[in-house]
Amino acid sequence: MNAMPWTSFDTWIAVTGMLCAVSCAIPGSFLVLRKMSMMGDAISHAVLPGLALAFFATGARDSLPMFVGAAVVGILTALFTQWISKFGQVDRGAAMGIVFTTLFAIGLILIVRAADYVDLDPGCVLYGAIELTPLDMVVLGPFELPRAAIVNGTVLLMNLGIVVLLFKELRLSSFDPALADTLGFSPGFLHYLLMTMVAVTTVAAFESVGSIIVIAMLIVPAATALLITRRLVPVLVIASVVGCASAWLGHYMAIRIPPLFGISDTNSSGMMAFASGLLFTLAWIFAPLEGLLARFFGGRGKAIRPPATTNP
């Protein structure tokens, strides 16, 4: 089967993916620095009861109440995790796992109850469809844009705004919470702000484009950037670039690789996540200071070797 040509549809899908990737990569960098990388995954499972309750409350599948319900439960996930790990002195990963499995179980039971009334499939929560975004266009002034691009663009602007405004505080509380506390920047407040950011970003993104891409873009671009540099601003910039590149490359692979096997195309979100993994692997091998090659060829030894200036 011949590959289909790249159309404006594909451009919109890739652009929406890029907006989503960058809006995730920014809070994701802070999550990775705070050893909370799995938060996106936890929230994406945990929001199920929020969706179910929003449905019970309104009796319809409108996206706004669903969004609010999911975002509230997302924030609660972060709160419960924090409480269990603080008061119960449980490892944070375990606390996260306890919270999201329990919430997901509650959600499943609620949905089975709701299933008597409406088809609310858990599968459609996990797999949003970025391929369908260009079918849902909204007119905005002189332009016609996909609704998902507007949603993710708005979230991106919000995240950028928060990070720019509170950059100093976020940086300090990520690297030295004790000092931040002494200086009067409440790490608690910043923590919950960050968690709110992650919850809203996650929910907005997977309502519009699916959760797989969100989970990946919260972690992988930031991890890639951390292989290349250890400074916060470059980490944020590189993570955003990696996020964009993975979105574009992912969609490209989603419509170019399957034809090699005689299949028309495949899931773009999945491929975007996979593409970010490929970019991570490149950085893992070729990173200038800590890459496998640099390590193998004595990159680490260079610093302690005396300068070879005395030789004629």
């Binding site: 490892d91 499995t101 039971i109 893992w284």
Partner: protein, 442 residues
């Protein structure tokens, strides 16, 4: 109704018995292996592995279709899942050992990238002409209620083997959980042991995923172990308890879902386990919240009472003439230390409840026999520590009061004897204060 409930709880019905027993065995094995994961701070490994199996399932299906089958053979899919789970865990360990990224990042990376790849592969597999991949995704949702005898026997057998292997490797796993640096320096093959531990997790996950579903197996690997941790500080008991809690939630949950048959069994088992976790978190005897708060409150009360007694003793010392247990003015006692009126009243009440003092006149208190002894002992401990700091730690006399304030309450008889020996010239006396004892600023 009651008859049905007891029938189900006590496994009268053959079908229920098969399901419940295999779920219980799964609970036992994941409780044990989960305890090691918790101590290694990798509780979310079940989550990671269950997502990482997805590309393997898709590829195994595609391969089996290419070889001319329907692709829906259970052993083939399980093998694919296990292989891709194993690839995920090796990748995670490789990232962990060759970069500075930490466990949580490596785990999140494997989870999201493998899951993405899996979704992409499934997206392709479903479009293979002539193959029917419908329902392949439901492979990851599980179907506890419709489990047949063969499934149950397989799960039970595998769970049993995993439990036995985990117990046999207890010493090695304990070592890498608590101090992998030491294990490395002693020549233990830490990476191999890590792989062995995670291989057991992979087996439990793959088997459990198919049998009881994604969410339950993730929960089974975390919740029983985390709940058990609240009841004990000893690893042996923790393993035993985690296994018991796993089995108990499996038994109760599977039985309940027999009663409320329209609800998903996996979800109910998770909720039972979560309820056990919450009870453990609050009331667990070793690390539970309530016992801990109670101990802290008790310590705070004792410290307050002992400070009150020492303050009274120091006031008595300042009286002219030989030391005698005369009534102490409440106002001067209050002024002797900086405490709030409420604290002061509370400490007075505690001391009175302990029979350490009594009301002499409305404005004054008098130490009891035992209270006087305790006050003298506290004051002596305080001064011994002060002298020790001055002589052996070169702390200025004006700075030792506050340090001794903390330490006086926890000096045991042994330590006091050591201090006496160390200081030499004290004997059984109560030394004078090395600094001026004066009321806190008024």
């Amino acid at each position: 109704m009651f008859e049905t409930i007891t029938d189900i709880l006590f496994l009268k019905d053959h079908n229920t018995r098969v399901v419940v027993i295999s779920v219980m065995l799964l609970g036992v094995s994941s409780g044990i292996i989960g305890a090691f994961l918790l101590l290694r701070k990798r509780s979310l490994m079940g989550d990671v592995l269950s997502h990482a199996t997805l590309p393997g399932i898709g590829l195994a299906f595609a391969l089996m279709v290419a070889m001319g089958g329907t692709g829906k053979s259970l052993p083939g899919l399980l093998l694919g899942a296990a292989v891709s789970g194993a690839a995920g865990l090796l990748l995670m360990l490789a990232i962990r050992s060759t970069t500075r990224l930490r466990d949580d990042v490596a785990m999140g990376f494997v989870l999201s990238v493998f899951f993405g790849l899996g979704v992409a592969v499934l997206g392709m597999v479903q479009k293979i002409p002539g193959a029917n991949a419908a329902g392949l995704e439901s492979f990851i949702y599980g179907k506890t209620a419709s489990m047949v005898f063969q499934d149950a026997a397989l799960i039970g057998g595998v769970a049993l083997v995993v439990s036995v292997v985990a117990v046999l490797f207890k010493k090695e796993f304990t070592l890498i959980c608590f101090d992998d640096g030491y294990a490395t320096s002693q020549g233990w093959p830490v990476v191999l042991l890590d792989i062995a531990m995670l291989a057991l997790v992979t087996i439990v996950t793959v088997i459990g995923l198919q049998a009881v579903g994604l969410i339950l197996i993730i929960a089974f690997l975390i919740i029983p172990a985390a709940a058990a941790r609240f009841w004990t500080h000893r690893l042996d008991y923790m393993l035993l308890l985690a296994a018991l809690i796993g089995a108990l939630s499996g038994w109760l949950g599977a039985s309940f879902s027999g009663i409320f048959s329209d609800l998903p069994a996996g979800a109910i088992i998770v909720l039972v386990a979560a309820a056990i976790f919450i009870i453990s978190m609050f009331f667990g005897t070793a690390r539970g919240v309530v016992p801990r708060l109670r101990d802290q409150a008790r310590l705070k009360r004792r410290i307050g009472r002992q400070h009150l007694l020492r303050a009274a003793y120091e006031i008595l010392e300042q009286q002219p003439g030989p030391l005698a247990n005369v009534p102490v003015d409440r106002a001067s006692l209050f002024a002797h230390r900086s405490w709030s009126p409420r604290e002061f009243r509370r400490f007075l009440a505690h001391a009175r409840a302990e029979d350490h003092l009594e009301t002499a006149t409305p404005d004054a208190i008098r130490l009891s026999e035992s209270g006087f002894g305790e006050a003298a002992r506290m004051t002596r401990n305080h001064r011994l520590w002060e002298l020790y700091l001055i002589r052996h730690a070169d702390v200025a006399p004006s700075h030792v009061d506050r340090d001794a304030d903390m330490v006086e309450h926890i000096l045991g008889a042994d330590l006091v004897r050591q201090l006496e020996d160390e200081l030499g010239d004290i004997g059984n006396h109560l030394p004078e204060s090395p600094h001026a004892v004066q009321p806190a600023a008024l």
